[in-house]
């Protein structure tokens, strides 16, 4: 397992914010402004019914690190603890999977928009929190190079 990069796992109750955070991480979305309404509706992560707990692969970032996102319902903290203790069973360091809870980084309007199946409400909430979300993703992204590897080097 040596030489593996960190796996980034963005989570949130519905998976929507986590998917957007993953897209921001992968530089598929502009960090400084929320995409226009038409582009927002076409975002691949914008799905109202996503199976909870499933890890969706979003891509690899410029450092070669795999980026996943997942919907975990109201169990964000629990999902983080499960992941950390699961890694320990295999002798893997806790930082092998970086669990990033994105749900708390956006306005609650996003959650309510999801509950009410209102894309407009979700969009409004995202517009209000976009810069905060992208700053948070940017900090998370720059935080770690990987485990068991030299900084800046991805696995082949």
């Amino acid at each position: 397992m040596a030489g593996r990069p960190v796996i980034f796992l963005y989570i949130c109750p519905t998976g929507t914010t986590a998917a957007l955070a993953a897209a921001l991480h992968l530089e598929q979305l502009p960090p400084d402004r929320c995409p226009p309404w038409e582009e927002f509706l076409a975002l691949p992560g914008l799905k109202l019914n996503r199976e909870r707990g499933k890890l969706f692969f979003a891509g690899r970032d410029s450092a070669g690190r795999p980026i996943y996102y997942a919907a975990v319902g109201p169990h964000g903290k629990l999902a983080g603890q499960i992941t950390t203790s699961f890694l320990a069973l295999w002798g893997l360091p806790g930082e092998a999977v970086k669990v990033m809870e994105a749900g708390g980084r956006v306005s609650s309007l996003v959650f309510w928009g999801w509950r009410l199946k209102s894309y407009l409400l979700m969009y409004w909430g995202l517009r209000r929190s976009w810069r905060g979300l992208s700053r948070w993703v940017s900090r998370a992204k720059d935080g770690d190079g990987g485990w068991g590897m030299e900084p800046g080097k991805a696995d082949p």
Partner: protein
């Protein structure tokens, strides 16, 4: 209790006393906030490692997460067997666990937990017995 039955620490043919149940590791003593931590309980006669974890109301979210973590980390899937005892939880266990662990009212919660466990003991023993071929296979 299912893990204790698996490990032979409880006789599946005899209803355990409240005192026996209370002497089991982690029995109603897990500190608040420790749900989600996977705890080692011991090794069975086939050298399988037995763990327990409290997953609250996560349901299938837990199984999905573990299975997909295994895949993402490229770990051997066949080495992990998830056995969900949540469907066997009855109301005394649920209410007792809530009072004891979440509210800290052990004087009411713990007797309820013991009562609830004793009521489902036979079903839990059957659950462990029926699943035994899963970890006995190819041993």
């Amino acid at each position: 209790m299912a893990a204790a039955l698996h490990l032979g620490r409880l006789d599946p043919n005899r209803l355990p006393s409240g005192r026996e149940l209370q002497s089991l590791p982690y029995f109603d003593r897990r500190p608040r906030g420790m749900e989600g931590w996977i705890l080692f309980l011991g090794r069975d006669e086939y050298r399988n490692e037995i763990y327990v974890v409290g997953k609250r109301s996560m349901g299938e979210t837990f199984d999905n997460l573990i299975v997909d973590l295994i895949r993402a980390l490229d770990l051997p899937r066949e080495e992990v067997l998830l056995l969900d005892t949540a469907p066997l939880v009855n109301w005394p266990l649920a209410v007792g666990g809530f009072l004891s662990r979440r509210m800290g009212i052990t004087s009411i919660g713990r007797p309820l937990v013991i009562w609830g466990l004793r009521r489902i003991f036979a079903r839990l023993a059957a659950f462990v017995r029926e699943n035994r071929p899963l970890w006995q296979a190819d041993r």
